[in-house]
């Protein structure tokens, strides 16, 4: 029962945060400087008569007062999944553009998060467990190096080495322009294009996870309950798995959730470096073109993504650490 109250409280908290973001997003884009008519027509307002401008404003509901008229429209539309019309891609709704760019980024961010956490946590545990070993010194050194590296620079270096110089991987894009690829060939083509961007994002975060996991494990290994476990005569592996790692994982999970926003930010630069058309590159294009409806939709999605990631972390926390859900 208590567990359910904990879950309900966390979900409610996430929903409230999301509602706040929704409201904030509306006002944020209303205070940005620009003339909607000019943005819509992409031409000079001098070419349009006053009547035409009024008609345009009316068509888009921009002649209504911001509150409550425009605001209620906005909330209703968002709840129905209608995020408006993009200026940049005429004839397409923000939702369509968004969905078309969603899966490449989900694939990129999802896989790189998976790899960086698995590898980072794994090597972190090993390093902490075998402190001062050659593996610890080497992996911690490499981790510090990777942690300090800007994503775009790392991406460019990998691109120059593995794509331009060695020619092992394509220099960018999501898929080849070649026609008539079979199912397997197509899959391999997608993997080949995904490889370097995914490697870049993985390397960019693996160091951080390694360092956090290692230091948190070292903290835990000094705790009394670990000494107690050892005194009970438990085998070292059991001490590590049951007592040390499980507790040491907690701060790492918080970090992974908190990092989710940064990984999305990293996707923007990495997608730009590799011309990998996804939500990141779309954000860049929307920003440079001042496509406010599209940006508004992307902001909303990214915020929702970070909130959901935090919710998952909270729930996982409750599962891993009974103290949390009973508090």
């Amino acid at each position: 029962m208590r567990a359910w109250i904990y879950v309900a409280r966390k979900v409610l908290h996430a929903v409230l945060t999301l509602a706040f973001v929704l409201v904030f997003n509306f006002f944020l884009f209303r205070v940005m400087p620009s003339d909607p008519v000019k943005l819509l027509t992409r031409t000079s307002s001098a070419e349009l008569s006053e009547a035409q401008q009024r008609e345009l404003l009316h068509d888009y509901g921009l002649d209504e007062p911001i509150f409550p008229g425009q605001f209620l429209d906005y909330v209703g539309d968002v709840l129905r999944g209608d995020l408006g019309i993009s200026f940049l891609f005429p004839g397409e709704s923000v939702m369509e553009i968004f969905l078309r760019n969603l899966w490449p980024t989900v694939l990129l961010v999802g896989l790189s998060t998976l790899f960086s956490t698995l590898i980072g946590i794994g090597t972190g545990i090993w390093s902490g467990w075998r402190r001062q070993s050659a593996f610890d010194l080497a992996s911690t050194g490499v981790s510090l190096f990777l942690y300090a590296m800007p994503e775009f620079w790392l991406g460019m270096m990998l691109l120059i080495v593995f794509a331009t110089t060695l020619g092992w991987f394509p220099t960018g894009g999501r898929i080849s322009t070649v026609t008539g690829l079979s199912g397997v060939e197509h899959l391999v083509d997608v993997v080949n294009h995904l490889f370097l961007p995914c490697l870049t994002l993985t390397l960019a975060y693996v160091g951080e996870y390694h360092l956090i996991m290692r230091s948190s494990l070292l903290d835990v290994l000094g705790e009394d309950y670990v000494t107690t476990a050892r005194a009970k005569g438990l085998r070292e592996k059991v001490v590590l798995r049951r007592h040390a790692v499980r507790n040491a994982l907690l701060p790492t999970i918080t970090l992974i959730a908190l990092n989710f926003g940064f990984v999305l930010g990293g996707a923007i630069t990495v997608e730009l470096v590799f011309s990998y058309q996804g939500l990141g590159l779309l954000t860049y294009e929307a920003l440079t073109a001042k496509d406010y409806p599209l940006l508004q939709g992307l902001f909303l999605f990214f915020s929702a993504g970070v909130i959901v990631a935090n919710l998952i972390a909270d729930l996982l926390y409750g599962y891993l650490d009974p103290r949390v859900r009973e508090a």
């Binding site: 005429p90 894009g173 898929i175 026609t179």
Partner: protein, 604 residues
């Protein structure tokens, strides 16, 4: 314990399953490694771009990739000759002009077809022109001035009547002919919202077949094109997020052609063994514009916020004398361009070259003398001149473009020279979007911008007329004499007479200095010479290989050999990936087995 026994059996079973999987994986890899019979690969030509296409609707096209695609999917009434860009037959094979100069009769070819199989006739052409004029597509109707009527008495005759004599029909009108059977029933609103994809129906040498938004779009050659089938099977335009990525893809051989390459990347390409670099014709220019807003309605509505001195010709002349255009070409463009003078580039016969006594040369002493004489003196000794009679110092706001690195470098150099004549300008790099906002609001003193100029000078010259203020005019320049000449050149009875007027108009702009043409910048292009040949340069001297006025190169480009044109995906081949996956599975399996053996021994 019984439980342990059961576990042990389970583990044995798991090991057996793992072994089986390994065997299957190995066989699979072996199968993948045997070369599959290669289907005949298509001859594919891939062009790299850094800006994306937004629409395939000819009535809405504004960006380079859109025009380049239209040029291979549609036709125009006449074409621009590859050697000198003069008008030559296109859909029209022949034409005559009535003695009063008001009626043009074109003979339309009978072998042109639409990509859906329908014949293209004179009715389609008359329909398209009428559609544009009647529905008021203002950006295109400018090419059809003084229209009286368009008629198609039969399938191969087009009669074009004008209310005034004009040579505009030979301009040639830059309007792609639309199929009446597709566009016929549309209202203006429907036509503007028409996606024109999929099922694009055009008459050009290629047919649009695929659009992977954000990645590329693919065109297929038409064997039945009236101008002859292209020598390639497929044409692909691939979009890159930045110039470096595009150039890297060219080096790696993923694309075959790149254009609008920045000078530093271009210089780096020049040593590459398989790549041919091409310095294309300078049909564009970069200029520095002054806020000239006068008494036009737009300026009344949006009163200019500017330094009063920029409206004084003496100040503008002094600034023009203080800019070393050769140094800009050498240092900003690395030599890939020519110093600027008038607003029609020298690549065109319409260009006017200022006479020696008209030439405003680089002369800082002369610039200082002009300012002294006009009464701008440095009264407080801070190195910056003040307005005549003291007061406001000559400090100008100067916008340059973050999206054009060259303009930023040019801005810095110009600020340095102006300092030497006692004018302080602070170059501020802003985005194009922001700059356009400043320009709409008439809130600027100086800025740098650029133009690509069409073979016919009409449009470019129109941008300096007073009624283009707030529309296309850079500066809101306002000169009734110029406006009169603009209309006069539209109705000049002969090319020679029109030429004289066009020259005079350029002279006026050069003399009045609403803007200073800094340089004509080259278009830098490069292609894989190990794979392609047959490009047709337009114009023939220092011309463009692609992104020309027309589709000459696309009709003629061909692979150097059959193998060279065949496209294949880049990257690690499926067989190697298969081997890697199997390798990983083996390692994981071996480690797992070893550990289990250890723990079993421990327990035993």
């Amino acid at each position: 314990m019984g439980g342990t026994m059961a576990m042990r059996i389970l583990r044995r079973g798991a090991a057996a399953v793992l072994g089986g999987l390994l065997a299957v994986g190995l066989v699979g890899t072996a199968a993948a490694q045997t070369p599959s019979p290669t289907s005949a690969r298509k001859v594919t030509f891939v062009v790299g771009l850094t800006n994306d296409v937004r629409t395939f609707n000819p009535l809405k096209a504004i960006e380079t990739p859109e025009y380049e695609t239209l040029a291979v999917t549609y036709d125009t009434l006449l074409r621009w000759a590859p050697d000198d860009m003069s008008p030559m037959p296109g859909l029209a094979t022949d034409w005559t002009r009535s003695s009063d100069g008001l009626t043009w009769t074109f003979t339309i070819r009978d072998d042109a077809t639409w990509s859906d199989g329908e014949p293209l006739t004179a009715h389609d052409i008359a329909f398209t022109y009428r559609f544009i004029v009647d529905k008021g597509f203002s950006s295109l109707s400018n090419y059809l001035p003084f229209t009286d009527s368009f008629e198609a008495p039969d399938d191969t005759t087009l009669i074009w009547r004008t209310t005034k004599p004009t040579t505009a029909p030979l301009a040639p009108p830059w309007i792609y002919i639309l199929p009446e059977h597709i566009w016929g029933g549309m209202t203006k609103k429907e036509a503007k919202q028409f996606e024109n994809f999929p099922n694009t129906v055009g008459s050009g040498p290629f047919r649009l077949v695929e659009w992977k938004k954000g990645d590329f779009w693919r065109l297929e050659a038409r064997d039945d094109y009236w101008g002859g089938a292209p020598h390639i099977d497929e044409l692909i335009f691939r979009v890159f997020a930045n110039d470096e990525a595009m150039v890297n893809a060219l080096k790696a051989g993923e694309i075959d052609f790149a254009e609008a390459i920045p000078t530093d990347l271009f210089a780096a390409l020049q040593g590459e063994p398989n790549i041919a670099t091409h310095v294309g014709g300078a049909a564009s220019f970069t200029q520095m514009s002054f806020n000239m807003c006068g008494d036009q309605a737009y300026c009344q509505k949006n009163p200019p916020n500017r330094h009063p001195a920029v409206t004084d010709r003496a100040v503008r002349l002094a600034i023009a004398h203080a800019i070393d255009k050769q140094a800009l070409v050498d240092r900003v463009l690395r030599g890939f361009g020519t110093p600027g003078t008038t607003v029609i580039p020298p690549v065109y016969p319409w260009h006017y070259d200022p006479a020696p006594d008209e030439l405003i040369d680089f002369d800082l002493d002369e610039a200082n003398r002009i300012l002294d004489e006009a009464g701008y003196r440095d009264t407080d000794g801070d190195g910056v001149r003040e307005m005549p009679g003291g007061g406001r110092p000559l400090e100008f706001r100067f916008f340059v473009r973050t999206e054009d690195a060259n303009s930023v470098s040019a801005g810095k150099l110009i600020a340095g020279w102006l300092e030497q004549i006692g004018i302080e300008v602070r170059p501020e790099a802003i985005t194009d979007g922001k700059l356009i906002d400043q320009w709409y609001a008439n809130d600027y003193d100086l800025y740098i911008w650029g133009w690509g100029v069409e073979p016919d000078p009409d449009f470019q010259l129109s941008t300096y007329t007073s009624d283009q203020c707030g529309v296309w005019s850079d500066t809101c320049y306002n000169n009734p004499e110029y406006d009169r000449l603009y209309l006069e050149q539209k109705t000049a009875p002969t090319r020679e007479e029109r030429m004289a007027i066009v020259h005079e108009m350029q002279r006026i702009i050069y003399r009045d200095i609403p803007e200073i043409v800094l340089y004509y910048d080259n278009d830098l292009q490069a292609y894989r010479k190990d794979r392609w040949t047959g490009f047709v340069e337009q114009p023939s001297d220092q011309g463009y290989l692609l992104f020309q006025f027309g589709n000459w190169s696309y009709l003629n480009v061909r692979p150097v050999s059959e193998a060279a044109g065949a496209a294949r995906p880049r990257g690690i081949p499926p067989s190697v990936w298969g081997a890697i996956v199997v390798g990983i599975v083996i390692v994981i399996g071996a480690v797992a087995l070893a550990r289990r053996r250890v723990s079993e021994e421990e327990r035993a």
